[in-house]
Symmetry: C2
Subunit: 646 residues, 2 copies
């Protein structure tokens, strides 16, 4: 019978406090339970909450606003908001144009593709995205990864058209994957890129990217296609005869200027515009220098002629045939996850600064759709860039309109200003990339991780070393594997705590942590701090046996009067139990009974209580008085039995 | 300052109960912590415990006894024990001989290999093994898996020598893998084969094995090499012209006899010898029938001539060249895990029936070493068989000597009786296999799993269907993946509980489970039931926001007097926290402060408390009065502030 589990049959003990009953949760059908669990798994933010109790028409409006956040802010958009957005938009455009060209080169794509990617995706995002601060466009790490992964299947120099096709196809898959994650509400997958993983990953990527730029910085012609530190450095030092001192001098000057500007911008927040304007200024100055000195004839390589014109449709370039499908899908998956992580993290960071909400799953749909549209309009993978979003935020953007302003500026560039880039030297683009990625090496964050959690630091380090010495994907995979393994290990080897009474109270706490907590003679009180399931029942069994043996040895040595009679298991911190766990509890109860030890369960939670009751109908292992609501009540009720036997 | 965290600065509130301090655990160096964690991870059973404080000589004896459990029981071995072991050993030998031949055929190996495998490994085990009940030899599922995996790389009919080489090599790798698991104390890996997985897996395997036997039962010559239900059944019904009615009639008769004997043995435990003796009786009777009626000329296939002689050395047959290495390693890994799981589970089951201990990691070393030795002496993979161990146990075995008796009997058979098997029909072996594996379909266990836990049942079902319709490895992998995913999901979507006060007590419990528990106005009390880490901080953030919004909406509707002032997070059930978790707690504190809500932490456990303190040195987010030892104390101490503000 339910609830008949306090020790009544054996003669109720008179105690000062009443003994409380352990309740089962209210009955609920399996279907209802599944519904609740599904909701918690896929809809923890309860997006349908605001639809509740609204009239039908209002529901439609809300649904439209949900799908197109632009409808949220556009109706009340004002000129004063636009003024702010205009300033912010022009500011990020001055960054987006040189960075777009540079990042496209990082991905071994034609420079103009970087500008295309700064034009269409921001427009799509301004309609679909829910962040007000995100500046959308190509980003360094995703460009690096896409380039390195696709170079393994196609050569961008000998077969540029195929390479372009593969890039667009990979972008399409990245978008499809991102949008699917959002629609299927599986956004929690990107949560597995923990902060520790990302810190190591970004630092490693920054170093890889910077080293790659040594090629352009030194004017080397023959360079390795690989990404690791070792092949790149050997490539640099095996081709010293190709070093061009003119290129190197120019590169070092501009790099010094950019880093100085960055430093000033960080030190004096009011002068942040110096660091923002520096890349565009560098491009203009260096182009002029090359043009005036005819430096292209002195070994300084330039971008070369670029045709004017907007994005051309590229859906006919998407390649779905078998030979390259697995490569493009894999590239899409990896770049999709990486760019999604950057976009969502940036969006959330700035949203929390301004106290508005960014819906992760909706953002995924927006970023995914933006990449799908992008793949059909000659764009490669894009997302919300952290550094440019910070500039956008500092420049005072108010809505996603700043992205529209940026896109318009890029459009003007694409239509009219392309010939001006003909004399822009590649070395300046390299300097811009290095100056941009330096900020990704976050040493203080790594130090904090070291101070807080050594295992997290190990994750961070493995991600860093993996990226630097093996490959971007391997580094990421190792770090994710390690952090997942850590979670599994925490379940497989759960914490068990020996609990004692704090004298003068009914509080029971960890005897290791609280020196004043004292064990109760005749009782062994253990708290289990994890779900009890197949992966840890063997461990729990061995560990509990050890506790009992230790306890028995101690008591027999000290005094024979109060030998161990009761094993109290505090289940307060056991959220769930599975069939193996139930079997374990049942067998523990039986095996300890042989040694004259009774197992008492304290405060099983809803689901655990329910399963104990159900198992009891099969195995009948919950005797009268096997369940108590608190440790204190159990000890008080059962103490007389110890004295009896003593 | 440490420990200065109770609300003192703001004017200590006078309460009836004293407010207790939250203590940090005693300081411990990182190295010491690592040591403790390593011990809990790899040595939870503390095998060195009994060496403590013993003199050196005694330590050597204990070490020898640890490595060779035979030294434990051999010195005190007596004639009365031997009598029991003799009976048990002869009983299991009568099972082992026909089963050995049958299982070897199941693995597409020569029948004599099955007998070899029932000779050497039991001898090795009797020296190294710590179980007294385990009957060692070839088992059905591992034979099935090895056969099906190796048939994909070599044909046992056209290239029997290569197939034999591969089988020995795979056995070597299986043993190596098993022994390594034991030596590296990674035995917890086999815990991931949960009970639900095994129930489904064994039932599926039994069906696959039985269906395979249709070949011999119907006398079909041309049969598929695949294991799935679909190809096997189509093979059976596309070759109806090959059916031999004589074979089928004989098979059905013996199968009916064996099943009847099994039924009688299960119904009347005293008559268990009928079911035990039935296989040997079937072999003898059928061999006589074939010999007398010359039935081999009427379409009944027989084993054929077998040479007398003991195991020949086979280390020269081990193949380590590149072409087959990956196949043999994979086969070794899969059969190694499967046979280990069966051996350990059987050992533990019978050990708990007789209240002695089986050391999992030591058993792994014993089984692994036995397979390595086996692979060098013409044996294929062997382990402790569940069904034969049950017979051994029932027949009253006392020590591992029963394995020696069995091995001796098999030796006599190998030396003298081999010619007698020449006329044994294959169809009887098929009947023996079917009768043996029928017991693996455990419907009541599946029903119990369904009653207790629907997700576990899903795991069980996926394992069953995967094995039956796809392949043994796929079925196992799916089930393990699913149960691991479930654990991860439990962490990614942890339980959060809204806690309320049980009137008249200081007990706070789940308001959903305990209808009498009431919320405290002005407080939102939440308990988190999982480690707080990277995988769930986003969820926790969204979920807590939803709780706060719900609470705020309700209170504003009901009464304005007690608006939400304090969010109490009960961390009693949070065993660990990582850097993402700390960042989350820090940001939660900051973001709720903007809404005039104060976050209070209750009872952080040792590790969590330590990290909170360390993080506090960096971020300073633990104000005075942010920490309490119990919810009750927090509520009593903070209530006056609510009345003040109201």
């Amino acid at each position: 019978m339910e609830g008949e589990c306090t020790r009544r049959g054996e003669g109720q003990v008179e105690t000062s406090e009443a003994v409380h009953r352990v309740a089962e949760p209210p009955p609920q059908s399996t279907v209802d339970k599944m519904k609740v669990r599904m909701k918690e798994t896929f809809f923890p933010d309860d997006p349908f909450r605001r639809f509740k109790g609204q009239p039908l028409k209002r529901k439609w409006v809300l649904a439209a606003q949900y799908l197109f956040p632009v409808l949220d802010w556009a109706p009340s958009y004002s000129f004063s908001l636009f003024k702010s957005d205009l300033v912010a938009g022009l500011t990020i455009a001055s960054l987006a144009i040189p960075q777009g060209i540079s990042y496209a080169k990082l991905a071994s794509l034609p420079p103009v593709v970087g500008l295309y990617t700064s034009f269409v995706p921001p427009l799509v995002y301004s309609v679909l995205g829910s962040s007000r601060d995100l500046a959308v466009g190509p980003v360094s790490i995703a460009s690096l990864v896409m380039g390195s992964m696709l170079r393994q299947v196609a050569n961008p120099n000998t077969d540029p058209y195929l390479f372009l096709q593969l890039a667009f196809t990979a972008t399409f898959f990245a978008g499809l994957f991102q949008a699917s994650l959002g629609i299927l509400r599986l956004g929690f997958i990107i949560d597995f890129l923990s902060k520790a993983t990302l810190v190591g990953f970004m630092a490693g990527s920054a170093i890889i990217v910077s080293l790659q730029q040594l090629r352009n910085l030194l004017g080397i012609v023959h360079f390795t296609k690989k990404m690791g530190v070792v092949p790149v450095m050997s490539s640099v030092f095996h081709n010293t005869n190709e070093w061009s001192w003119q290129t190197a001098a120019m590169g070092i000057c501009f790099l010094a200027f950019l880093l100085l500007a960055r430093h000033v911008g960080m030190r004096r927040p009011k002068l942040y515009w110096i660091s923002v304007g520096a890349p565009l200024a560098s491009v203009i100055v260096s182009t002029l220098v090359v043009f005036l000195l005819k430096a292209q004839n002195h070994g300084i390589s330039t971008i070369g002629k670029l045709r004017c014109g907007l994005n051309r449709p590229s859906w006919d370039k998407l390649l779905f045939d078998g030979t390259h499908l697995s490569a493009t899908m894999k590239t899409g998956l990896v770049t999709g996850i990486i760019s999604l992580a950057e976009g969502i993290a940036s969006g959330r960071t700035f949203a929390s600064l301004r106290s508005y909400k960014v819906d992760g799953n909706k953002e995924m749909m927006a970023i995914g759709l933006m990449n799908i549209v992008g793949s059909c309009t000659s764009c490669y993978v894009s997302t919300g860039a952290f550094s440019r979003s910070a500039v956008n935020h500092n420049a005072g953007c108010k809505t996603a309109m700043s992205n529209v302003v940026m896109a318009t500026t890029v459009m003007v560039t694409l239509l009219l200003l392309m010939p001006l880039f003909a004399y822009t030297p590649n070395v300046v683009l390299a300097a811009i990339i290095i100056a941009a990625v330096v900020g990704l090496v976050d040493v203080p964050a790594a130090c904090n991780i070291w101070k807080l959690d050594k295992v997290d630091f190990l994750v961070c380090l493995s991600s860093f070393l993996g990226v630097v010495f093996v490959s971007v994907q391997q580094g990421l995979a190792t770090a994710i594997g390690l952090s997942t393994f850590r979670i599994l290990l925490q379940i497989t080897r759960p914490k068990m705590i020996a609990v004692g009474n704090i004298p003068g109270t009914s509080i029971y706490r960890d005897m290791h942590q609280y020196k004043e907590a004292k064990g109760v003679p005749g009782f062994l009180i253990l708290a289990i701090e994890a779900p009890i399931n197949f992966s840890n029942t063997t461990y729990l069994n061995e560990r509990i046996t050890r506790w009992i043996e230790n306890e028995t040895n101690e008591t027999t040595m000290e005094d024979k009067e109060a030998s161990l009679r009761f094993l109290i298991l505090d289940l307060s911190a056991v959220p769930t139990v599975d069939t193996s766990g139930i079997t374990f509890l049942n067998e523990l109860k039986k095996s300890t009974e042989k040694d004259g030890l009774e197992v008492i369960f304290v405060n099983p939670m809803g689901e655990v209580m329910e399963k104990l009751q159900r198992a009891n109908k099969i195995h009948e292992f919950l005797g009268v008085g096997s369940l108590y609501l608190t440790i204190g009540e159990a000890v008080i009720s059962l103490s007389p039995f110890i004295k009896e036997s003593a």
